[in-house]
Amino acid sequence: MVNSYVHLDIGNTVTRAKAWSASAQGARLLASATIPTPPALESVDLTESAFLAYTEVKAKVEESGQRFDPEEILVTVSAAGEPRVACAGVVKGISGESAKRAALVAGATVTDLLAVDDGRLEYQRILDLRRQDISMVVMAGGVDEEILGQGRHQLFNVAKVVAAGLPDRRGAGTKVPVVYAASLEGREEVLKIFGDSVDVVWTDNVRSRLEEENLEPARDAVLNLFSTGIRHDPRFTGLGRFGAAKVLPTGHSTGLSVRRMAEVLKQNVLVISLDGDTIQVFSQIRGVFTRTVTPVTRVQAKDVTRWLPSARLGERLDDVLANWKAAPGTLPASWDDLALYLAIQKQALLEAVREHSVTAIELRGIHRQRQIGETFQVNVKGGDTLVRMERIGTVCITGFLAGLLSPAALLSLVPDAFELHGVTKVYVDREGVLESLAAVQEEPDLLPESLLTPAGVILSPGRNEERIGTRWAFIKKDSTLEPLLVKPGEICHIPILAPHPVVFELHPSGKGDVGDGEGRRFSAQAVGFGSAYVDARVFGRKTDDRYRENRNTYRVFGVFPDDVLSGWERGMK
């Protein structure tokens, strides 16, 4: 039985409609359409562009003469309608982080994190909260029992700040709700503090015990509030024309697909969504799902300079970066602009991955039993990052820019921004498949080869090994092992002529670890890839001419034509 679905994504920059058919064989994209989203002003009906995109995609499918009536419509929202959440916790690194993670996995944007140790005075926290345009607050703090025996708990001070600082919800004129995912024992006292001024949604504690983190109830509460709240938002009143469409934040929808992909592959997965003004990073590592959102406005010109292919481009960098921050939807229209644009994206991606590494961690605050091998280690206290690139074999790039920039340009961002380690398969989601699959009820086996564009395989020794020789990387074809070209200090391109499954094998030195432990050989299969790259550059090494190195990297990935690269080399305009 074939089922048909439509996914409408109302994004900050564009609104996309995709028509899907799902059968026992899997999901198939029938057609897609893209319409620019109008600015998210209060007076604008944002569903107007969704309706136009829907009409267009329906017409495209019906061109074949077959009538198309979708059985289900999924609407995902990231254009100003996504839940904007302020999080509150007692200790920033413990309950504060848990509240933030709960909001993020629900697809929300976290605007602020209030905590007793956030370095602000109480009146500053209240003022900061009042000035924000938020749709809800997620509050965590304290375990479920025995918090009241130790005097007045800081949780109540946090509740007082929330009660005093809660702004009116814009548009609807109603109160901003608070998702209470904090101590069970503190509920009565918190309710007294909130009084009638706050609508509270009670959920299970995210940290009912210090050793556990349970994000699902708080996440579901955020999603429920979002689904009910969006229909009252004046900018989304037109959602009614799509019937009883399921409405989700785009971040949550993509997150569902990422989790599904990790389950099917039985591997750790990292997905990057390049959305123009923000970069979302999703990961499912060791069974822990994490999502972070990093605004690109954080990028500084002084950090971007090192990724430029020519010193001359640096003269315009300040102006271009500032303009792009003001209007992130502006696309580069010349090779110079593209070089600046990629350098900015590379730095933004680097910072997004760094932030994700800090958020995707083992739980802080837990009392962990030391192992014998850890007897002499100092840092055994939880809080270690889960993002270690040798654990991650699959990286996928999705989002608005994944459909615009060439796979080569996207691939060129990866080695520097991620500091890869071992064998990493990079896929590009050009059609925005990942955010759509939550619409498909019969979940297909989400194998990346079948739905995503394989961009390339990157082999890298990481930081463990400074120098690698010619017999470090091998490719297995027809059961014969052939060594791959390795140029110390450079990236080499290895074309794979037949898109058949190939196996890459790495032979590290005694101390080198490429995924299976020190000195152990590592092999990985790759299907459908046309290119592999051996990155033998040394991380963190100071180069004599970083511009030349960047030009070489771009030449290897084939991002710019040769005459443009040689023009930069000669300093030509």
């Binding site: 900050n12 920059t13 564009v14 893209t34 319409i35 620019p36 109008p38 600015p39 998210a40 002003l41 209060e42 007076s43 604008v44 009906d45 107007e48 562009s49 136009l52 100003a80 904007r84 605007t111 003022l127 009042r130 000035r131 924000q132 345009d133 702004p167 009116d168 123009g276 315009r316 300040d318 102006d319 271009v320 970066l321 500032a322 303009n323 003001a326 209007a327 992130p328 939807g329 502006t330 696309l331 580069p332 229209a333 010349s334 090779w335 602009d337 593209l338 459909g403 615009l404 920039l405 060439s406």
Partner: protein
């Protein structure tokens, strides 16, 4: 060709406009929703940036050696003598004056410091209209009707004044010599790029605001720091404004020392768009509202606080402007999807970005699927036949339907 995937309207004509007038710090509103306001109406008061100002007097041991003329709790005016110190048998004489209007909070005899709590500053509306909403401690939302030029960047607080055109065309760069003290409290329409020298000339001449096409990022950054840090004493010291040093000279509000700056195109070296320049030029001599949006940062995510120039219609204060009465302006954000839908074959359009001048033409039909920028980025495009008979493929975001 600049291509904007984000179809942000640059000019709104005859549109309802809402503007959040933000208090620079914690403020208290003096108006209520529904009340009519004029440009000079005081919307509220806010605690000044420095809160406490200190004057240090001569001490001897653990008491103040100077003769004090004030007591704790006493109200003082700027320039008022707080005390004096005579030494060397009257040969030396020091007078201590109040740096601001306010109230003597504390006199510390041990350190010789006199703390003055500064009087709250007033915030004028500068925009005639109707108060739609008061956000406690944050600001006041004023509703009006008029034309609006959306700025790509800016610096400074909100100001208003009569518009004076200094550039003959949008590409002209205005020299600092063109600005004189006669331009005080006026809004200067400069052409393409503003320089640091021009901004300093405007500051010295006490201009209310500057509207230009662009400015280098480093210059805007310098100007933004000036907006944040320059107080009246520093201004007098730096710009040596003799006539302003008189005791009876009116001290401007802290937000009205540095002129507001709005850049219509952005950072770098770009001329002002013809559409914005024409619209602004047609308001020469008439009052306009300019906001450089230095305070937009404190209201993150607010759509109604960015840099802009508003030309309110006469009598807008008494007019009820509602969303339902959106004008027929070509750049009305609400009309954008409608305009896109109307890019059907035969529709007359104006194309921006091909040359400096917009080109008029007629839509022939949608472009092929593979239409792309020179750097291979695919974009939604349409085929347009220009008046000259040439058929071109243009990104939809660069097209304005002419109705």
């Amino acid at each position: 060709m600049a291509v904007y995937a984000l179809s942000r309207p640059r000019v709104l004509k005859d549109a309802p406009v809402r503007r959040l007038r933000i208090f620079p710090s914690v403020g208290e509103s003096m108006v209520s929703p529904g009340s009519k306001v004029e440009a000079g109406t005081i919307l509220g008061k806010y605690a000044s940036r420095q809160r406490l100002r200190f004057v240090r007097m001569e001490t001897a041991g653990d008491k103040i050696a100077a003769t004090l003329l004030v007591t704790e709790g006493q109200k003082v005016k700027r320039g008022e003598v707080l005390g004096y110190y005579s030494y060397m048998f009257g040969l030396g004489y020091t007078e201590y004056t109040s740096p601001c209007d306010g109230e003597i909070e504390v006199i510390s005899h041990a350190t010789g410091r006199v703390a003055i709590k500064e009087e709250p500053s007033e915030m004028a509306s500068h925009l005639p209209g109707t108060v739609e909403h008061v956000e406690e401690a944050v600001g006041v939302l004023v509703r009006t009707r008029g034309h609006m030029v959306v700025g790509a960047a800016g610096a400074g607080y909100a100001r208003s004044g009569a518009l004076v055109r200094k550039a003959g065309e949008p590409t002209e760069q205005v020299s600092p010599q063109k600005v004189s003290p006669q331009d005080a409290d006026r809004v200067v329409l400069a052409g393409s790029t503003v320089t640091k020298e021009l901004l300093e000339a405007c500051l010295r001449s006490r201009v209310a605001a500057i509207i230009a096409g662009s400015a280098p990022f480093s210059v805007v950054q310098w100007y933004e720091n000036l907006v944040q840090e320059l107080d009246w004493d520093e201004f007098l010291a730096r710009y040596w404004a003799r006539e302003l040093k008189k005791k009876d000279a009116v001290v401007p509000r802290p937000t009205e020392i540095v002129p507001a700056l709005v850049l219509t195109e952005g950072y770098g070296n770009m001329p002002m768009s013809d559409e914005a320049f024409e619209l602004l030029s047609s308001f020469e001599g008439k009052p306009v509202f300019v906001d450089g949006a230095s305070l937009a940062g404190v209201a993150a995510g607010r759509w109604d606080a960015g840099p802009c120039v508003i030309m309110p219609f006469a009598g807008a204060g008494g007019e009820e402007a509602t969303d339902g009465s959106a004008g027929s302006g070509s750049g009305d954000p609400a009309g954008r999807p409608k305009a896109l839908r109307e890019l059907a074959p035969g529709v007359r359009v104006r194309v921006y970005g091909l040359t400096r001048e917009p080109v008029e033409g007629t839509v022939e039909g949608p472009a092929q699927e593979d239409s792309a920028l020179p750097v291979s980025i695919p974009v939604n495009s349409v085929r347009v036949v220009t008046k000259g008979g040439e058929t071109i493929t243009v990104p939809a975001a660069n097209i304005q339907a002419l109705g």
